[in-house]
Symmetry: D2
């Protein structure tokens, strides 16, 4: 019933499918581990077209790291999380010493909750130019990373996909890593959950409106997507509030009563139109964020950038990364 | 029934009171005018303790300018709005040529929706030092304005009220104008509504948590508050969605049925606990904003600053203000 | 003698050549007009290889607008300047109604004096996506503009020229306009002088270190460069101080004395090494800027962006531009 | 001869005095230590009115830490420097467990090289409000710190000293620590040198134009000043270039020649007017900075803030500070 709630997390899409079906979802495999205290890794694999239809995400691997303690900014915890993120990234990519990796920071740097991609680009240890222009300064453990933040359609007048494709054709990377801000259905995941997907970015995902995908089909190279939820759509909050109330009522009502039937008869469209009445349009997409979203996004961007730094540069420690970054 | 919804706008508080009472609110006078196309001015006067209790705002005047067209950034419309704002400010203050006015920009400049006060301070035409140090550069039409952005308790470790009082005792202004970000109950008012109140700032109002008021009692000088809604609490959205649903059901139900009675029996506390269940705590106060809130707040701060510039400097045009500002 | 002073302004290069030769510079034509009060337009044309050698700038047209009054922020003066800039741009380009124009904002947005290019990109009226996705919203007088800020080598790991070329091959513009921060030899030109050149950007010009040109040869389309001085190299200040002193001494000395000969014998290398002794290396290139450089650059970027808006969009007024920009 | 060169560092003022006098400076004691590799601590004590006249700094203690390696951002080096800074601060202040410390970040946050004070305020571990409102969260090793960034005269219209005095009278601190950006005479000291002075801030020092001092006389409490050079005045560069040239010539000239006499006859005023001719006025005070000044200032602000955190909070480690800061 609640399929229309917007989420970019495969893990949440699967959960919602399961809530409805109340059982296993055909075509989707899921695995949970807890590699460290307060870090939960969920690996969702969409294995078939059937799975694709069931949860609305393309065939591929989706790994989610939930790290609620990120808000306490404990340095050791953050390092654990970065190492775990690096380990999960490495599982999804195949690189050799000469590989070139292009990091693409999607989103609009002028809009706080959409700025996570450009912020990651700022914090990645870019090295491709060092290999090219000052090869004697290259550390053996480094790989060639380059990074761009192409902006959004409204700023550039150009589809982001066109810009990225143009750059890919010049740079000829072996791997693209696209970073994006995501929408979750749960406010507690804002800034504290990271999703890695080997399916790239697909049209309509992310919190901006992407029209063109960034994936192996469109770019011609393997494309990893890494994202972090930065918003929950206000609609989702409204929908969740309604759902709660209906559950509450349904529990109290006599299942043979007219009232119970009325509750069951409330369909998706009806609920959506109730929510739409509350959330006036005209201001663009209304989103729910914590007031401290600026800070949460800075932190998440740092974690992702360092996860990439550790995953791609082959054996650099966080200390090495910090030294080279400055 | 819905009194717990958080709003800092007296106009909304009155509306909500009226929705319940379905009639005039004793102790509260209200007047509406439309001084220009797409600008609505609502003047709410709380005239007695009874009015105070009824709408939860202290005795005094609350003027609201609603300007939905602000989003289109039409320069003529913006100038009309600034002139109207200036006219309303002048109605609430009494100044002579030697008056000193202290503008206080409340809020946290690091948190976008709380930054409107500091942004106004940046855009006000400050002149007190010109009078003092280069009096020959004073334009006859200017009055003495000075301006501070004192920060918030979490940044300074000092109650904002203490800082402001310390500065007031040194500067001895004849009028304080305190600028603050507000919470509304309606998302369409974000960035497009301005409230002026001659009651100053009272504890608990504004989107940060103020513990101490800034008003004639605490500061010893007349204190005007000017604010603009920058957020709607996520709770409010949830509450509104529930309210819609209940109305919907009530309309369909037989007023003699058990179901109808059940709906009427849903009390405030019950609804609040439903909302609390949906909106997970732990991220601080969740707020709903449009993604473009950065831009809306910049615009609103410009309007307020120029409204003050036109109201206080006695006869400067917008052109004069722009020339002097740089 | 003073050829090593770094300037990106053809006008200054010509002046310096003339100071040495004390006469006309072969291969270089120059023309001065004053189209409005306090606006001086200098058109330098390098007509031959000889001219190229004499002033160190490639064959082509270089138009400089000097507008010292820009600092007073008089709105009418600014509008005159924008209109004049637009007129000069139109002289150097040939467009038809279907032309696509790509604005490229060069430089590093994290380094204030290098950020003028990205700032112009932010202020240009981008329309290409409107033509493509919502053609009914197109104003007849608009042309297709798109805009990118590709970053700098140290941030992206990719030569800026590669990125731009990749994008040019996708977008296929009819004209590229590249915006860059320049070095001048005179501090009073910072933020108040604009140069337009139909030679594009050539390696080594601009205040960052560009290795690859952006011009008709490298990009395959006509390329206009627009720049504004944001720094004077500290070296230049040192050199100028020395030059002053030597002139002073020379004026006082007996032209037959040993001393006079000693002064004349001071060659370029000797002076350079003196300057290098004073200006410690190791902090990167030291530059001289006014402390208010942030503000000057914002203003200059606004002027350039609107000059482009007026030149390219065929008949839009500044009012139209402002309305569409928001 | 070169007294007019502007420096806020007592160490440099003493050096310049010594260059002229070629011997000990009466009334001034100086001591040098090297507590760690690449950290030089110079303690200058002005002991009498005679010393005051000789170097132009009031009677008191001036401690300078020179840390050229700060640019390499080695975390261990930075920690050593913070610990050393903390140790030097502790030598100049007397605190007990209940002391209240007010940190005042002077300068203009909109002007990069003047923003170091406000940046330190952002990074100091503010605790006074924790003691007052949530005393059970106080760590035994904390002292009461509060912090304000009062802005500059041109922004507020109020003398900074008035604002600070107003706050001091409310908060009644036992110690004020005022942070300011300084001018040095040597470019290599920008961002890499820190001066602590127990004389507070005196009129005319710092890179903005302060009119009123912040010291024990004006505030009524002990006042420590901590500063970091962020600029060298362009004039200083010009002067240094001239001085070099004159030394060069003097070395070559026959000491009995007319030329030699001419060189010796060049007096201060003459040189100043030469410099003034070269460095056009009109853009405010021209300063020399490295282009990367934004980064250098961020780093220096972090060092100073942590030096204060370690010095004042009695026994917190850097790890504790980092944990509490977030």
């Amino acid at each position: 019933m609640w399929k229309s709630i917007r989420t970019d997390l495969a893990m949440e899409a699967r959960e919602m499918a399961q809530e409805q079906k109340q059982g296993e979802i055909p075509g989707v495999r899921v695995e949970n581990i807890m590699p460290a205290e307060d870090i939960v890794v969920t690996r969702v694999e969409v294995v078939s077209r059937l799975g694709e239809e069931n949860i609305g995400k393309p065939v591929g691997n989706y790994i989610t790291l939930e790290a609620p303690e990120i808000r306490n900014r404990n340095p050791e915890y953050e390092e654990q999380l970065k190492q775990q993120l690096a380990a999960e990234i490495r599982k999804l990519v195949q690189l050799n010493d000469d590989s070139v990796i292009l990091v693409v920071g999607l989103g609009n740097w002028n809009v706080t909750p959409d700025a996570v991609g450009p912020k990651v680009v700022d914090k990645v240890l870019v090295t491709r130019h060092v290999f090219e222009f000052v090869p004697d300064q290259v550390d053996d453990r480094m790989r060639r990373i380059c990074a761009v933040a192409p902006g959004v359609l409204g700023i550039t007048g150009i589809e982001t996909g066109e810009i990225v494709k143009g750059i890919v054709e010049k740079v000829k990377p072996d791997l693209v890593i696209a970073i994006d801000a995501l929408a979750s259905r749960k406010t507690e995941r804002i800034g504290s959950t990271i999703q890695i997907a080997d399916t790239g970015i697909n049209p309509g995902s992310g919190i901006g409106n992407k029209r063109m995908g960034l994936n192996r089909e469109t770019l011609g190279v393997p494309t990893l997507a890494i994202g972090v939820p930065t918003v929950v759509y206000a609609q989702t909050i409204g929908r969740d509030a309604l759902e709660m109330l209906i559950k509450e009522f349904s529990g109290q009502a006599d299942p043979h009563s007219k009232f119970y039937n009325m509750l069951q008869a409330l369909d998706e469209q009806h609920l959506n139109s109730l929510v739409a009445e509350v959330l006036t349009e005209g201001l663009g997409d209304l989103v729910v964020t914590p007031k401290e979203v600026d800070l949460l996004i800075d932190d998440a961007a740092g974690i992702i950038a360092d996860g990439i730094n550790l995953a791609i540069h082959n054996g650099l420690s966080m200390e090495d990364v910090n030294r080279y970054l400055h």
